[in-house]
């Protein structure tokens, strides 16, 4: 952009104060606005050109002035001109837009992950430290934030116009988006995909705070249990540790350090273990069998909520050793061996908190 940054700031401030332009509150926003102004400029040029041609010809060749028309077949040169120039401009826009798209949808490696669950008609945000929010999202400025999002029911779409980011929130699969806020303040959060009766009520507020304020907020709103801690509890109560315990005789693959690694499946395909893979492997294990293991894991479809899945994924993500799993496993094992224990079924039910 040839325009000086001072002038740019002035222009944006002025536009924003006129209430005709959204605030630029993320690192992406200026890039988006640059492309926008470029597009507006070529549109204006195109529109002015067409209007001018129509007006000019209307005046110059109106019947009073020009009673007999001159028949013209066409002109290859002219037609080539107005094929090639628009094509060239559109290709510039294509490349520019493509670069911007990759910038918005490829999070930087140091970004902080927050989970978002959408449901009719609210947004739930789950911070790794266990802070939960409804229709609100607190974030620090100056830190790249990645959102890992999923819907519990229908399509939703997570949009923060002042950050210029938006992404569809889909049932059955994780989608991600990232941003880095630049200005502390509160910003609109909208659901932009029609999702039923209260679609217009599925709105919230994003609060961008200075890192110090954010830390204070984190300390004040913690529920005492981080997502990973919740996940560890679920891991034990669902009985995952019976197989995934990393011992030599284990019937399930070792999960410690599995996140981010490359797995070979029984069908020979290679996958990178990410959030989406872990979620799918829990829900439909028969399609995700690691090479060397038998397809004995039952499906957990319909048994764990999306929040529960997030807890488990977060837990497995951070799992670096099997020490604690083996501890719980051994304890559980010795409990069951105790002679005074009642029937297994009743025991399991009563153990559930």
């Amino acid at each position: 952009m040839g325009i000086s940054s001072v002038l740019w700031q002035f222009l944006i401030k002025w536009l924003h104060n006129s209430a005709l332009f959204p605030a630029e509150a993320s690192t992406i926003a200026p890039y988006m606005d640059e492309l926008y102004f470029f597009l507006v400029a070529i549109s204006l040029v195109g529109l002015v050109l067409v209007t001018f041609l129509i007006l000019y010809f209307s005046v110059r060749y109106r019947r009073d002035k020009h009673p007999v028309a001159t028949q013209i077949e066409g002109s290859t040169i002219l037609e080539a001109t107005w094929t090639i120039i628009p094509l060239g401009l559109f290709l510039i826009v294509f490349v520019w837009g493509g670069l911007l798209y990759f910038r918005i949808y490829n999070p930087p490696p140091n970004s902080m992950n927050i989970y978002i669950v959408g449901k009719q008609w609210m947004w739930k945000a789950e911070h790794p430290g266990g802070q939960h929010e409804i229709d609100a999202l607190h974030i620090p400025v100056g830190q790249p934030i990645q959102l890992t999002m999923i819907s519990q029911d229908v399509f939703h779409s997570f949009s923060i116009p002042d950050f210029r980011v938006k992404r569809e929130v889909i049932p059955g699969r994780y989608s991600t988006v990232w941003f880095q806020a630049t200005e502390p303040g509160t910003y609109h959060l909208f659901c932009t995909q029609y999702c039923g009766t209260q679609h217009a009520g599925m709105i919230g507020e994003v609060t961008a705070m200075t890192p110090a304020d954010y830390k204070k907020w984190l300390d004040e709103s913690t529920s005492g249990m981080s997502l990973a801690q919740n996940g560890e509890r679920l891991f034990a109560s669902m009985g995952c540790n019976a197989c995934h315990n990393g011992t030599a005789a284990a019937r399930g693959p070792n999960l410690a350090g599995v996140y981010g690694s490359k797995l070979t499946l029984t069908d020979g395909s290679q996958v990178v273990v990410n959030d989406a893979y872990l979620r799918d492997a829990i829900l439909s294990p028969s399609q995700h069998v690691t090479a060397g293991f038998s397809p004995i894991m039952p499906t957990y479809q319909g048994q764990i909520s999306e929040d529960g899945l997030i807890d488990l994924v977060e837990y497995i993500k951070q799992l670096q050793s099997n020490y604690r799993i083996q501890q719980t496993f051994v304890t559980a094992d010795s409990n069951q061996a105790a002679p005074t224990t009642p029937a297994v079924g009743t025991n399991q039910e009563s153990v559930k908190p």
């Binding site: 332009f21 597009l39 529109l47 067409v50 028309a69 037609e79 520019w96 918005i104 699969r173």
Partner: protein, 556 residues
């Protein structure tokens, strides 16, 4: 206004009479209309029915704008509002825009333009109108029974598992109406291929025929996919077969792919015939052949061809792979080029012409301006990064209204005014209709321009209530909608009036070159007394002048 400023040449009103025999009075009685095989009568049946549905759809638009006058959800409940925009969308897209130009003007004119007595399959043509009516009645049934609130896009799993409204009735309606459009397309394709009169080569066809041909290809190839998709939605809803349900291993994105595989080409089904109208009007009122006939003809075909390979641009933020998004963005940029070519070719058709400004020309100017804006804002949305911010906001609402209403509806009105004398044998009142054209244009700009700004601010579409800072722009938009409403009511009134009191038009009031203008107005049931022989190019004004000279001598 001096006589040099108009090309309208009407017969002497004192002696002029409507032709004794025409398709209108060939047979009498309601049954003769309901059982007719005459393409012209079927066109009139279509015209009456789509006008009816246009005003129902328009009433919903009015209610939507009225609710959005204030930020609070105060006029109607959320569910009611959702039903409003759903009905508005379904009616306007499937019962007005898709059949608008092809089924009315196209039906009336394509056989005449190619020099045939009728379409290839007159009974299928009538059947297609009945299917349309059945579709329309089902929609009205869904409406009367309590409405439907899926949005016209029927997004799953919302439409299959979460709504208790009349989704099945509405989907059936669109399913049935789809076949009406398939049959119309089929009829046009066969007619254009097989029934051209001697001498009528492909490159002597009027451009209106070319663009309807391209649209027909889309109808025949695209609409079956919509029928399949809606069937799957019904099966999913009634029997929970799980094609789109992730908990059963289905893929909700599959629905998006299937739906847009039809619904993106559908926007070209809507706009291409309109482009055909504009080629005719601009040529006629500039007294000049269309600049670069071949380029305009082939750009229609190019749009139809490329139009099938851009559907995923509706899904850029839905998590399709980044690389496939790139491909679809590129293809979308390419499909914009033929539209740009057309706009410049139309503008240069006026160069060195002898231009007059009758109502159809004014509507065509409106089309050029609004379609240019609509097309260029489409490039915003085709640009991947920009689309992230703009999609699902009022920007997209404004964009497709510029194309569909600013483009297509303007073209439809241009065509209706242009061929009204041919259809009815009578002229519409000129100054009143010019007022209507200007009112529509101003109302349109006022309604939809503020929505671009609202979109960039981030106001989501389909919102029943909105943050108060967006109110000013919404008030402007609602005010514009009022003006627009007046602009659309006017033609209904004066065109109705003209049926009885309009001036007798004569065969060729515009001194236009098309075959349809060389026969009586309104035409005979069999169109031509003897099979015409095409011995000149389309838009050959010198041929016309020569012919008129001869005519004068014979009559004198």
């Amino acid at each position: 206004m001096s006589s040099a400023a108009t090309i309208v040449s009407l017969p002497d009103q004192a002696t002029a009479r409507l032709p004794k025999r025409s398709y209108l009075n060939n047979e009498q009685g309601l049954l003769s209309w309901l059982l007719t095989g005459d393409h012209k009568r079927i066109a009139i049946l279509y015209l009456i029915s789509i006008t009816f549905f246009f005003f129902i759809g328009g009433a919903f638009a009015g209610l939507i704008r009225l609710e959005l006058l204030t930020p609070q959800p105060d006029l109607v409940a959320a569910d009611t509002y959702n039903k409003f925009f759903t009905m508005h969308g379904i009616i306007m897209v499937f019962l007005f825009l898709v059949p608008s130009v092809p089924a009315t003007i196209g039906n009336f004119l394509i056989p005449i333009m190619v020099g045939a007595k009728d379409l290839a399959f007159p009974k299928i043509n009538l059947l297609s109108w009945y299917l349309y009516v059945v579709g329309g009645i089902l929609i009205l049934a869904a409406l009367v029974l309590g409405g439907v609130d899926t949005g016209w896009t029927f997004t799953t799993p919302l439409s299959t598992h979460y709504l208790n409204t009349h989704v099945i009735t509405a989907a059936m309606a669109i399913f049935v109406a789809g076949f009406s459009s398939i049959f119309t397309g089929l009829n046009f394709i066969v007619t254009i291929h097989r029934m051209r009169c001697p001498g009528m080569t492909w490159f002597r066809l009027p451009l209106f025929v070319w663009s309807n041909y391209a649209a027909s290809l889309l109808m025949v190839l695209g609409t079956p996919v919509l029928a399949i998709t809606l069937t799957l939605v019904l099966l999913e809803r009634v029997f929970s077969i799980g094609v789109f349900d992730p908990t059963k291993g289905g893929d909700p994105l599959l629905f998006q792919h299937l739906f847009w595989f039809y619904s993106h080409p559908a926007v070209y089904i809507m706009i291409l015939p309109g482009m055909g109208v504009i080629s005719e009007t601009i040529s006629t009122f500039s007294r000049k052949r269309v600049f670069g006939y071949t380029a305009v003809a082939f750009s229609s075909v190019a749009i139809a061809l490329f139009g099938f390979f851009v559907w995923a641009h509706h899904m850029f933020i839905m998590g399709i792979s980044n690389y496939s998004a790139l491909v679809f963005s590129l293809l979308t940029m390419l499909v914009a080029v033929p539209s740009a070519i057309k706009v410049f070719n139309w503008a240069f058709t006026m160069q060195k012409g002898s231009i007059t400004f009758e109502t159809p020309m004014l509507y065509s100017f409106g089309f050029l301006g609004l379609f240019t804006i609509g097309g260029l804002t489409g490039v915003f949305l085709a640009s991947l990064g920009m689309d992230i911010h703009l999609t699902e906001t009022y920007f997209i609402v404004a964009h497709f209204h510029f194309v569909m209403v600013g483009g297509m509806l303007m073209a439809f009105l241009a065509g209706i005014h242009f061929w009204w004398p041919k259809m009815t044998g009578r002229m519409y009142p000129e100054s009143l209709s010019k007022l209507a054209a200007v009112t529509t244009f101003i109302g349109f700009i006022l309604t939809f321009m503020p929505q671009f700004i609202l979109g960039y601010l981030g106001m989501p579409r389909r919102y029943h209530a909105y943050p108060p800072e967006y109110q000013v722009l919404n008030v402007l938009s609602t005010a514009g909608a009022t003006v627009l409403g007046v602009g659309y009511m006017l033609p209904l009134l004066y065109l109705g009036w003209s049926l009885k009191y309009g001036a007798i038009a004569g065969n060729n009031p515009w001194q236009a070159t098309g075959l349809e203008w060389q026969i009586q107005s309104p035409p005979l049931t069999e169109n031509f007394i003897e099979t015409p022989i095409m011995d000149h190019e389309a838009y050959d004004y010198e041929w016309l002048e020569h012919k008129t000279k001869n005519e004068v001598t014979t009559v004198g």
